[in-house]
Structure formats: C-alpha cells, structure tokens
C-alpha cells in the first residue's frame, strides 16, 4: 500500500509545477506516492485513510497568496475543511513542508506555516523538514533553483530505502493515459475534471473596448450574466479558463503529424478510476496549454521523445516502479546518417539540460527571457514526437486566470470584469500574446462560457480596522487596478466609507477608463485624484499625487486610522507606493519608525495589497 502522500496548493500553477518536479524525482528514486492538489482530494475516500493513519509520510507544498493567505484551491477545498473540523492523530506520520512565496509581500510564507500548525503540530505529527522558496531569491531559504535540489535530496534521504535511481531515459507513467476508445457510443464530457461544482455557465452580455481605438493598449469591459443571482462583493474575482484557437491547433498537428490520425476520433482519458471521452482536437482546445512558456518539468520528460524523421521514437516506459529492472537495451537506430544522428543527440542533450541541469541559466536564456512557447519549441526541435498515450503527462494543462469584478450591487447584478489584453515584444520576432486576455478579446455577446466566482471576503478582512473605528479608505489603483476599486465605490455596504481614490494611467484621451463613472457629479462620498504619465504635468504617477497630498494622507492614516487598499500590477508600483507612505509618515510625523508603523498596518489588515 502506498504510504507517502504529496499534497499541493497552487494559485497560478507555478507551485503545481514545482510539486511535479518533486514528484518526478521521487518516482525515479523509487518512492511511490500519491500526488494531488488539496481540492482534487475526494474526502469520502480519504477521510478514513487519514483517520487510520495510512500515510506515514505527508509532503505539503504550497504557495502563499495575497496578504499571507492560503491559495484558493486549499481554502475552498473539502480536505482543508476536514483538517479544520476533525480531531486526528498523526503521531506516526512524518511531515515535510515546502513553501513558495514572493518576499515582496510581508507575510509571504504564512500559508506553509499555517499548514504546518494546523495539520502537523495540532495533530502531533513528526515534523521533519520545512524549506521556504522565495522566488526573488532574497529571503527564505533562497530561490527555486537553489532550494529545490536540496529539498529533494533531503526527501530522498529520508524516504528512500534504496540507493537506486531509475535512469531518466525511462519514462515512468503516472497520471492520465490516453487510449483509443473502442466503445461505439462515447459519452462526451466537455471537461475532464468531474469535481466542478463551482464552475457554472454564463452568457457574455457585453464586450467593449474601453481605450481609444487608436491607442496601442486594448482594455476590455466584459459583462457576464449572473443568471443564478450569486452574491458577490468588492474584491471578489471571476475565474476563466481560456481555450486555444483553430490556428494554434492546426499548427500543433503540422508539427506532430504522427498524431493527426487521432484528431477526430474518440479518445479515452483515463486516470485511476475516472474516465472521460473527447476527441484529441477537443483535448488540445480545452486542456493543453500549447501557448505557455514551459517550466523545467516539461523538459525533464520531453527530451527523450525525439527520433529521426522516418522512425518512431523508441523509449522504455514503466507503470510500476517495483517492476523496474535496469536493462542494457540499446535503443538507438541504424546509423544511416551519422550527421543526423549527431544532431539528434545534441538536441537530446540540450533539452535534457533544460530540464535537469543544476544551472538554470540556459533554460532561462532560451525559454524564460524570450517567453518562448511550447509550439515554438516544437518547431525548433523538430525531432520531438510526443507520444500519444502520455501526452497529458508531458504537456502542461491550461490554467484558470482570475479577474477582479468591477461591478457592484448598486448598478448591476451581473459580473463586469476589466481586463487589459496582453501583448508585448521580446527578442523573438513574433509578438507575445496573453492566452486568456486574447481569448476574452475574441468573445462576443451571446457566447456561453464557463466561469467560477471566487469570494475573497474583503469585508471580513476589514472587520478589524472597522472595529478600531476606521471610517476612511485610501484606494490606490493605477491602470487596470481600478477595477476592484470601482466595485468598492459602487457597493452598498461600502457607501459609509469616505473614499479617496488615486488613479493613474498614460493619456487622459486614450486610457482614462470608466471616466463617466468617476466624473459623476452626484458622488460626494468619493474624492478622486488622477494623473496621466505621458500628458506632461508635474504629477505622473499615483505616488506623486500621494506625496503632494501628504498632509491629508498623514492625517487620514495616523490620526483617523484610515485603511489603505492598493491594486494593480505587481512590480515597481506597490514598492514605490509603500515607500511613499513610509516617507510621508517619516516626514510629517517626524517618526523614525515609520517603516515599522506601515508593517504593523499590514499585519492588522489596515494596508492591503491586491497585486498581480
């Protein structure tokens, strides 16, 4: 019986890929295990297993979201609820923790620490190891590439009872298998994941471009029907899972002609007990992220699936590690063309290095910096032949993206989202385009899509400052960050707040989005400050406006216990804004401990940052 369990929580998918890398290494070290995200765990099946301590080793890998919170797929999971509401005994279970966070945020490792307290300490588990990755590499135990090999090494030392390492040339199959379905009547289910209780259908009611037509940036206002009349609040988000377009799927089959035969046939997707039917075309449309920039774990597997033109890929695959016996099979083909063989081998070496080498630089330079997509990599590395059966174990799946709701109950019951269509240049000739925002751009009224509503409970977070008497809120949202702020200003519950809004963008004529909403003379509870960086003028960015208003800001924050709420793109802006607040308090208040004051605000939810 498998007695090792690997659980992960991930919001953007990055931590999921890290968990996958750990899983790969465990398998090759012959450590059999179950791997699952928190929300994929079927609690009916697993509750008795936890109660009878079936798992002797539990590995938990999690990112920290937002203000030091658990990622959404842990927070809303049955498993988490199970841990919170049951008394368990883990005195015979060893625990290993890996946290992933960004030290830009103060509480960037709180999730993994909370998980340790609630699952290990509370139930008397044996705590063995905790490491913390800081993606910037500055704090915690270091960056991903520094920490991961060390974490894996420690795990292997503790969990493995053999020195054996299954050669990386051997493909260990674990997860979803694709098979040709021989069943004449296939039940088509559009989505593989049966546990979709939170996703519901919504019709697109509107899709407007908010920025001037002549402007280089396209910001969309999209309204989605809320036919089930779900309640939502400012700060809540809508999840959308994009699809690949025809051009992309066609290109894939051009590059992988050996898969053309499966394109329109019924294909069975099998995982443990679950089975679903689709065509390969559908799988590529809904499930596989061909336009993504692959993580290292993609290369860890793909490198060996390469062969010369006319030949099939010869590889060794096992489904069960215990049955593995190292063999000396020579898998290489007839040496017809020595030169081509040399090229093939150099391709294999290159892709192997991208996945397995300790030094990530080559991978970063070839893949990350130019944002090179899987399709482009398949083009460059023409010998790759993705095996049909194991496709979904090798290719990453399309992940959902979240968009802040910008509407609210005072003017609309429907979900309005505000999204900037992502398009930018890198060293590659072809422009980079965001998969989801370009998918959103193509939507037209009448289209029906599946969405999910995420209740992020901003109201609950504000309870503490409101208890302390806060009556004012400073809302800072340059660019698309204005979306949740618009919801805030349009919501009945929040009408009591004195709202000070700070908005910035580039050109008043081009990208002053929702101008009519903000310039509405009837709104006396909102004081709005705006500036446009390319219009000339002394104030260019939101922090300039804050600085010029420093007397007011100081009074609000220090004397009136006001709340600060910042939204927008992460990067320079939130750092600059925080520094500005610190400077204001230092200057006006003559307070040397200004930075500490702001950090205290963050701790007590008086300074909230929603950046992405």
């Amino acid at each position: 019986m498998v007695d090792t369990l690997l659980l992960y929580g991930s919001e953007s998918g990055m931590t999921e890929d890290i968990a996958d890398q750990v899983s790969y290494k465990l398998l090759h070290n012959k450590i059999d295990h179950v791997i699952s995200s928190f929300d994929d765990i079927d609690i009916e099946k697993y509750a008795p297993l936890f109660k009878s301590e079936v798992y002797k080793n539990i590995i938990i890998i999690s990112s920290t979201a937002g203000q030091g919170e658990l990622p959404l797929n842990i927070r809303t999971s049955e498993l988490w609820n199970f841990f919170k509401t049951n008394e368990l005994n883990f005195s015979n279970t060893s625990f290993y923790f890996l946290g992933v966070g960004d030290s830009l945020y103060l509480k960037f490792q709180h999730a993994i620490r909370l998980l340790k307290l609630r699952i290990c300490d509370r139930f008397n588990g044996n705590f063995k190891l905790k490491m913390e990755i800081d993606v910037t590499g500055m704090k915690g135990d270091g960056s991903t590439d520094q920490v991961l090999p060390v974490f894996i090494k420690q795990l292997v030392n503790q969990l493995s009872d053999t020195e054996e390492y299954i050669n990386d040339k051997v493909f260990i199959s674990k997860g979803i298998l694709l098979k040709l379905s021989d069943s004449a009547e296939a039940n088509f289910q559009a989505s593989f994941n049966k546990k979709n209780p939170y996703w519901f259908e919504s019709e697109v009611l509107m899709n407007n471009r908010l920025t001037n037509e002549d402007y280089h940036t396209d910001i969309r206002q999209v309204v989605l029907n809320n036919k089930f009349k779900y309640q939502f609040s400012p700060g809540d988000t809508i999840s959308i899972r994009p699809q690949n377009d025809h051009a992309c799927i066609n290109k894939f089959f051009e590059l992988q002609p050996h898969l053309k035969q499966y394109r329109f046939t019924n294909v069975l997707m099998q995982d443990d007990e679950q089975k679903t039917y689709q065509t390969l075309e559908d799988i590529l449309r809904y499930e596989v992220d061909l336009k993504s920039v692959p993580k290292r774990n993609f290369f860890m597997r793909i490198w060996n699936f390469q062969s010369m033109k006319k030949q099939n890929v010869n590889f060794e695959v096992i489904h069960d590690m215990d049955s593995y016996k190292p063999t000396n099979i020579v898998l290489d083909n007839d040496f017809e063309d020595k030169e081509e063989l040399e090229t093939l081998n150099s391709h294999k070496r290159k892709l192997f290095e991208f996945g397995h080498s300790l030094d990530p630089y080559d991978y970063i330079e070839y893949v990350v910096q130019p944002r090179r997509t899987i399709l482009e990599i398949l083009f460059d590395f023409e010998y790759i032949k993705i095996p049909f059966a194991y496709m979904l174990q090798i290719l990453p799946k399309i992940k959902e993206r979240q968009y802040s709701i910008s509407s609210s109950d005072l003017s609309s019951q429907n979900f309005e989202i505000t999204a900037k269509v992502v398009e930018y240049e890198t060293l590659l000739l072809e422009k980079r385009k965001g998969l989801c925002t370009n998918y959103i751009k193509r939507l037209t009224p009448g289209n029906k899509i599946k969405i999910k509503l995420n209740s992020l409970n901003l109201w609950d977070k504000l309870e503490e400052p409101i208890m302390q008497g806060a009556e004012s809120i400073i809302l800072i949202g340059p660019g698309v960050g204005i979306a949740p702020i618009k919801s805030f200003c349009d919501n009945d519950d929040y009408t009591m707040f004195n709202k000070y809004v700070y908005f910035g963008n580039r050109n008043k004529d081009m990208d002053y989005i929702y101008e009519s909403f903000w310039e509405n003379p009837k709104r006396s509870d909102i004081i709005m400050r705006k500036c446009f960086s390319r219009d000339g003028g002394e104030e260019r960015y939101v922090q300039d406006m804050l600085w010029n208003d420093k007397a007011l800001i100081f009074d609000l924050v220090v004397n009136q216990n006001a709340i600060v709420y910042i939204c927008g793109s992460s990067g320079q802006m939130p750092t600059q804004v925080k520094l500005t607040f610190i400077e204001i308090i230092k200057t006006i208040g003559n307070d040397e401990n200004a930075e500490q004051y702001v950090n205290e605000m963050i701790k007590f939810n008086r300074y909230i940052q929603e950046t992405w």
Partner: protein
C-alpha cells in the same frame, strides 16, 4: 416571553441604584431578565443559547467609553438578538456608521435596532476556533520565527543549492530599487531594436522572394558558430538570426504573423 439581557460594565457595579432600577423596569413588564458582568459575558458568550428581544448595556459615560470595546459589544450582540431586537445604552456618537453597517444595526429612537443577521455564532462543540488565519498567539510565535528569516542568504545568485558556482551574472530582482533593473531593461530594449532591424534587413534583401528564404544554401550569411540553422538554443551570442525560428531546408519561413511589421 420577551427576553432581556442586561450587560454590566464593572464601573456601574458601584451604582447599585441604577442597576436595580433598570432591572425592575423590565421585571415589572414580566420580561425574562438575564444579567451578566462584562468580563464574564465575554467568557460565557459561546455558551449562551438564548436570543433576546433587548440587550441593555449599562456602562460609563460616552467620554470614558472605550471605542473598540463598544464595537466588540456591537459585534457580539448581533448574534444574540432577534431581528428587530434592540441594543440599548451604547453611546451612539462613539459608534461609526461603518460599524453599524458591518454588524447589522440601524439607528432608531436613539437606540440600535438589529436589521440584519451578520455574525454566525460558532457551533458550541468547538471550543477553540480553528481558522484560516492565524490567531493572535500563533502570529506572535511566527513573529519570533520571522526574525530568523530576515537575514539575507548571501549565498545569493552565484551558487546553486549544491554549492557549485553558477557562471553568469546576476539578474535584477522584480522589486529592484538599485537601478539594475532599469539598466537591464534599457539593454534589452536596445538589443530588441537592433535585433529587429537586423532581421528586417536580412529579410528585406530577399523581399521579392519571401516564399523561398532558404538559409541553408551555402553562401548565405552565417554567424561565427555555424549553427544558425539549428535555432536560438544553439546560436551563439553574435548570431545575426537570433530571434528567428530554426531553419528547415526547403521550408519557407512563416512570416504571416509579422507581415504588418514589413508593410
């Protein structure tokens, strides 16, 4: 039966008359009267199963009242009152509009009327509230842990987790304030521009023949390493074709996606 809860702030225990009068005014109406001293009330809160029609607070004057204590009373009272029940005796000028809204009350006749259920009392069986966020004790414990993590690991970017040295230069962090990020971005912009110019020129030279751009033919311009055709993964730093996909002999370079750049 109309139920009343009287909450006594310790300071009014010295004023026996006030307490007596309040109690008898309710008892004379045959109301069922419950009474708690504040500290006991906070301890017993989770055990109270009754809901009341009135909660009457006897406490210090407005000036001497503690705002957050009052807010807490507001919060707890919501789950102990019926809808349209009244919370009497709180100095109203010490309560903000937001607090009233947050905890489900509206002002009526100088008192607070409950208009909405806001807080759900946790189930009686849970003695400790196990939540999604750290409680105060845990936060404190983590604070002490936090101090250990503020030290920067000077192992930094020049070593891998195994201790072997990395060979390339340091990349700027996302939140760079030292200027390295600006420098990198500038360099990148310049490289991008130069790259696109270079590629444009190469392609423009064969503009009429765009469908047959075959770089594997001998004599075409190649870079120092000779691996141009293999794609960016194998090209050297000085390669003129950096940014272009790999070359397939006889296969035209697909320029459809960037055609507008050349118009």
């Amino acid at each position: 039966m109309t139920k009343v809860l009287i909450l006594l702030h310790p300071i009014v225990t010295t004023n026996a008359e006030l307490v007596e009068n309040t109690m008898s005014s309710y008892k004379s109406k045959s109301y069922e009267v419950h009474q708690y001293l504040l500290p006991n009330f906070l301890e017993e809160y989770y055990n109270i199963e009754t809901t009341f029609d009135y909660i009457h607070y006897l406490g210090p004057s407005a000036e001497d009242s503690n705002k957050s204590e009052l807010a807490l009373l507001l919060k707890l009272s919501n789950s102990l009152l019926h809808i349209n029940g009244f919370l009497i005796g709180l100095p109203l000028d010490k309560i903000t509009k937001l607090q009233k809204k947050m905890f489900g009350f509206e002002e009526e006749d100088s008192n607070l009327k409950k208009v909405e259920n806001k807080i759900i009392k946790p189930a009686k069986t849970q003695t400790t509230v196990v939540g999604d966020v750290l409680n105060a004790e845990e936060e404190k414990a983590l604070d002490n842990e936090e101090k250990d993590f503020t030290k920067m690991y000077m192992v930094g970017c020049t070593e891998t987790g195994d201790g072997t040295k990395l060979t390339r230069r340091r990349k700027a962090c996302d939140t760079c304030t030292c200027g390295l990020k600006e420098l990198e971005e500038q360099e990148l912009e310049e490289r991008k521009k130069a790259n696109r110019e270079r590629i444009k020129n190469i392609l423009l030279l064969s503009k009429d023949d765009l469908t047959e751009v075959d770089f594997t033919i001998k004599g075409k311009k190649v870079g120092g390493c000779g691996s141009c055709a293999l794609g960016d993964a194998f090209r050297c730093d000085g390669c003129p074709y950096l940014g272009l996909p790999a070359f397939k002999p006889g296969q035209p370079i697909d320029l459809s996606s960037i055609k507008d750049d050349f118009e």
